[in-house]
Point group: C2
Chain length 727, copies 2
């Protein structure tokens, strides 16, 4: 993503759009309603004052985060989606639809998407961005996300040519069937078999038990015509373990499943309800031999198994997906923070003149009825609200810089691998495993905290956060369970520590190494933090993060050397992986906050403050691990808590600008509380008026369905008709 | 709840029920499907082995937790609900229904419930239990939960007689309208006005702005005929602040809202979708003077305001509700733990013979195909899974003992108040505020952790956890926001510390006091923990919890004495309230684990272990606060982590029995993964087959709705009909 000069287009994103008709006219609503306004100060008043306080230009920050090109792609793609003449991509009814309805609506979008992508000749980036904007996983996600990449990496040249051609044009729709009802993480435990029958040159797919059913397969339930199926290859009586096969499952003519296959949807989930995650059972279902994907392993006509000449490196895709998830976690947190910060600046409760002393709106607005105070205090001015929310802003930036770092290092690693150099692989694999685990966990927690920080309204779907959180949540399990994954990272760290202690010449000298700190001298105390203000120095913070991670690794290595079993070490492994990845997050944030791009854009100040906040708040959260070996002294913990408060105060004037900087459009937020223009309450009302229970009632003379059957008989049990007067 | 001898009935709960037809026959499903079984070892095999390992009788534990009487009420009420001839209270379709459908279904239950309660002459306990079992908040919850209590406490005798008589017989259906769109926690900021018009002897209710709309009012949206409305009383030009009025809102004849009122539903929420939380605006809406609830404040015909002779004590109901929420949090955690623990004993992934060394099932079952291991390891045997889940079991018991303690002390306090003694009020109010905050926060986190610990299947509604968590989540905001509430507790603690230091004779000497520890001598180090095994002693643990809480209170008091503002102290107040309440939780748990009832039932062993686990895991989680002043030494933290592991291992054999002990019936769990009989996978499949997308597809020849419109045109774009052969 290079930086070309497109300032004008970028800045546009940060200007309020033309006011929409709030609240629009609807039948059955009395005229006097339309005269009502939100009480002053309005959300718009508050946000305007916030934006006037900011010490930097959010548009400049957006460019630092994404570069102009990517920002341009977002704007252009958004324009295409929003200009669709049938309003196909509207999210207006999303929160009201039941599952079947929403599924069908999403199918309509998918069908239109395929057409638009073809017409506009969208490349992969544009497709990815468009899907991010639509922000609702659909049934085709796995077609392009797993089915096609899998054919590409595991099919022979002939298979690729044939199947990818069909898939690319949606002549077939594919899914990827690996997980079974009884087996997820442990691929070696899968039960489905593919037995070779030399007489007919076919494989017979079979599910020997109920738990062998393929399960959770996205797109399988209702739409896919083909599946890449992972099954145990059995030939000549020998089980060669899981291999992949391409399997036709539904007729291309009438879409009916073929005999011998039982397929359906796995039922309702917290989110992803527009995806038909499916199940599938095979009853001695035959496919011809050429349906085995044979780029590596092969079975010949006679049924002889041929192992691949060399074990191929299959980590590439996995690492890419994890890098992508780290970057996605940043955006997800940013979205949660955007809603909560904007609404906290709008929402006013109680009056604390001391807390509001820097709030221009507080000074300006007239007294509340019956109150001696001038105005109520914006909840963002309460220190506990800042303590809850500002670290989430800091985390979103921290995750962003590490996400983009991971994507860069992935590209470098793949280039090296193509040149025959595998050196980077173990380090990048370890970082990607631990970072995927840590960042998706942080993001899920941060979104939920942001939701709760919106008070009661955070519980309404109109806040934009519940539906979004539910869609994010599977990421803590998918692509490697967040607890299981930490073993990968820990294993690597334990190995490095052993290697460095046996041979100090192996200690990395390059600053870009993620494990250089493991070879640093072991300090007994935090000597670089000599006075309280030193805690604003990110190098000083990095010293502490490095020491803590190294100590935890060394202690576990020692325990295991003395015989502590693998299973008895899992708790420590989790801690090690987290400590290492928090070090990486801080390191990459420091780098991002001080690099050329940031200083050219004039945002090193606010970025640096945020970086310190990330370090201090993370340290406070994990404080025992820094303190318990005496590294951080009693006095230093006092400094830490005091500096943390000071840093929260330093972030305060820029809070709204820092979330504005992400440039997340209202179309994506789909949130009454988080809209750019601050019309939170007007928007809550408008959305409520569109609730089907209300619309239906207005159509039925303002009486709810079920009244005649259940309510009236209860209220009027054995009564004569009441008089017309009000009770 | 006395203990009568009803062992037989109690034990019944813990026996598996007669096997249900899994999977039941449905149309459109091939015969071969019914021959499939789950792979061995089955869930039933695993749970049987777990139950055989237990060192105590779960039925005896159930009696310790609830007493026989309450257990009897649960069983009897469950029997009544399940024997309804129309199966009105079935939960079979709950996870598939859209909002409107589910709302109507719940209305049907409510109507039936009213009938059954009348027929069976149910008392308050039976009604409460029945609602717990139905486990879905309905539109009438606020009628009995808020509307009637409010009339009762604030109406004159005449008003009570008239309105409560109607309400009790469901002649009117009520709700409680306090919160507004723009104001929640701050009642003094409400905007709705009730202006007295002496000419007509009426009040005119009016909403001066959009944000003045009553919002979130349960039962208001669609069903209530009347509302108790909180509005600012204005008479003779003076604003007397919020007062309560009873307001007719819908005609008793045809249920239509009266002119001058605009009312509707606030829209979809994360949960509570069977409750019609509503909004309401008034346009100069008149009610007669006798509709003001005048037990305390009064307005006479001429419009003169009469303040109540003494400020009445309004804390009673609030404290009761908070006590009830603490007890509910215990049950909620227990439910999450029941599902996750049972499923963790069933679910097997990978094979670690060392981890499975005490698992009889692991030894018994034959090798997996292609694997050298005997069997896979139950995930409950992985130490990290134990570290995630066993503390949740411990928390559920801890919360239970404090919940029941709160209910007892509430009764005692109310008795005292009736005798004119208010001494207990400040202490109980402080404990109830902090405990409500802490326990609902713990429970929400524990349920979500339990859900994630179920792996991918935890994301399915069939796990029983998502819907349940969504229903629980508002409790972190309702009845006092969990962050705001901690100020109440902190204020009280700060006052006590000051009082005790000024006058040591004020230090409580009674062991039942929650603040006696604040007057204890200030220790510099944890001298009672002399060796590692001392950490199994709950008195030693209590020493540490007491010291930590006292230190935090004293430090904040010192800072505030030096001028730190209230707003700058909110972070510390949150910490103080948590520390104090964790002390109370541990103290009450110690008491419950060692009392007569527990020793008579022979469960002090497992209860004591669980109590230690609660202490150790809580301490580990908050470790920095114990360590940072040097109270807990470096060596003692090593002991802590080591003893925590040992205690997890000690809980292991009883894990399933400890969740069985709660006796939560399958009807409440409504969970495929958590069923008592362990048929997790069979049940997942059965529930999936009932998914409407599948049922509809089977009715339409196994093709999904939307195929003809969106899929077929995409797949077959410009194609001649394909040949019949499979691709």
């Amino acid at each position: 993503m290079g930086d070309t000069n497109k300032d004008k287009e970028v800045s546009k994103e940060h200007k309020p759009r033309a006011p929409e008709p709030l609240v629009e006219k609807m039948t059955g609503i009395p005229d006097w309603f339309y005269a009502l306004k939100a009480a002053s100060p309005t959300g718009g008043d508050s946000l305007a004052a916030e934006r006037a306080r900011a010490t930097f230009d959010p548009a400049a920050m957006t460019r630092v985060l994404f570069g102009n090109n990517l920002v341009g792609v977002f704007e252009e793609t958004l324009g295409v989606l929003q200009s669709d003449e049938n309003n196909t991509f509207s999210k207006e009814n999303r929160y009201y639809m039941g599952r079947s309805e929403r599924f069908k609506d999403r199918l309509k979008m998918d069908s239109k998407f395929a057409e638009i992508a073809r017409t506009n000749k969208w490349n992969d980036t544009q497709r990815t961005v468009a899907n991010l904007l639509i922000d609702e996983p659909g049934t085709f996600s796995l077609h392009t996300g797993m089915f096609m990449p899998c054919l590409n990496s595991q099919g022979t040249d002939e298979q690729r040519k044939y199947w990818l051609g069909l898939a690319h044009n949606y002549r077939i729709i594919g899914c990827y069937a690996q997980t079974e009802l009884g087996h997820g993480s442990n691929v070696q435990g899968l039960e489905t078999t593919a037995t070779y029958i030399p007489e007919t040159e076919q494989f017979e797919l079979h599910s020997p038990s109920l738990t062998a059913a393929k399960w959770w397969v996205g797109g399988l339930g209702k739409t896919a015509t083909h599946a890449v199926v992972m099954a145990r290859l059995i030939t000549k009586g020998k089980d060669f373990g899981p291999h992949t096969f391409i399997v036709p499952i539904r007729s291309l003519e009438d879409h009916k499943p073929f005999p011998g296959i039982m397929v359906g949807d796995v039922g309702p989930k917290m989110g992803f309800n527009c995806v038909d995650n499916g199940f599938m059972l095979f009853n001695k279902y035959r496919i011809s031999r050429d349906h085995m994907l044979m780029r590596y392993s092969k079975v010949d006509k006679e049924g002889n198994y041929h192992a691949p000449p060399v074990q191929r490196i299959s980590y590439g895709t996995m690492i890419f997906v994890r890098a992508y998830l780290v970057a996605s976690s940043a955006l997800a947190l940013a979205r949660g923070a955007t809603v909560a910060i904007r609404y906290s600046a709008i929402r006013r409760q109680f009056s604390d003149p001391n807390a509001s002393k820097d709030d221009a709106v507080f000074q300006k607005f007239s007294p509340l009825p019956g109150s001696k105070a001038k105005c109520e205090t914006a909840v963002i001015d309460y220190s506990l609200q800042q303590y809850r929310l500002f670290p989430i802003i800091a985390q979103s930036y921290a995750l962003h810089f590490s996400g983009f770092w991971m994507l860069r290092i992935y590209v470098k690693m793949m280039k090296n691998i193509n040149d025959g150099n595998l050196d980077l692989l173990p380090e990048v694999h370890a970082a990607s495993s631990g970072l995927k685990s840590l960042t998706t966990t942080i993001a899920a927690a941060g979104i939920e905290e942001a939701r709760r920080a919106c008070g009661g309204h955070g519980y309404s779907l109109f806040s934009g956060l519940p539906d979004f959180l539910n869609t994010f949540l599977p990421l803590v399990t998918l692509e490697g369970d967040n607890h299981l994954l930490t073993q990968q990272t820990a294993r690597y760290l334990l190995k490095q520590v052993k290697k460095y202690s046996q041979d100090p010449s192996k200690i990395p000298t390059n600053d870009s190494s993620t494990t250089k700190y493991l070879g640093a001298p072991y300090l007994k105390s935090w000597t670089s933090a000599k006075k309280e203000e030193d805690l604003q120095n990110t190098d000083v913070l990095l010293d502490a993060f490095g020491h803590r991670s190294k100590r935890l690794v060394v202690e576990l290595a020692t325990k295991m050397a003395k015989g502590q079993s693998w299973n008895d070490s899992l708790i420590e492994m989790y801690a090690i992986s987290k400590a290492h990845c928090q070090y990486i997050l801080l390191k990459n944030f420091v780098h991002g906050a001080t690099d050329k791009r940031a200083s050219k854009a004039g945002v090193t100040g606010p970025l640096g403050t945020l970086c310190v906040l990330f370090g201090l708040s993370t340290m406070e959260q994990e404080l025992s691990e820094f303190v318990e070996d005496g590294f951080v002294s009693q006095q230093q913990t006092t400094w830490l808590r005091s500096q943390l408060k000071k840093t929260l105060a330093a972030v305060r004037p820029n809070a709204v600008a820092l979330v504005d900087s992400w440039g997340i459009p209202d179309y994506v937020l789909n949130s009454a509380l988080g809209r750019y223009d601050g019309k939170a309450y007007e928007s809550m009302f408008e959305m409520a008026l569109k609730e089907p229970l209300n619309v239906n009632a207005r159509l039925h003379g303002d009486v709810v369905e079920g009244y005649e059957e259940y309510l009236r008989p209860l209220i009027r049990r054995g009564l004569a008709p009441p008089s017309k007067s009000k009770l």
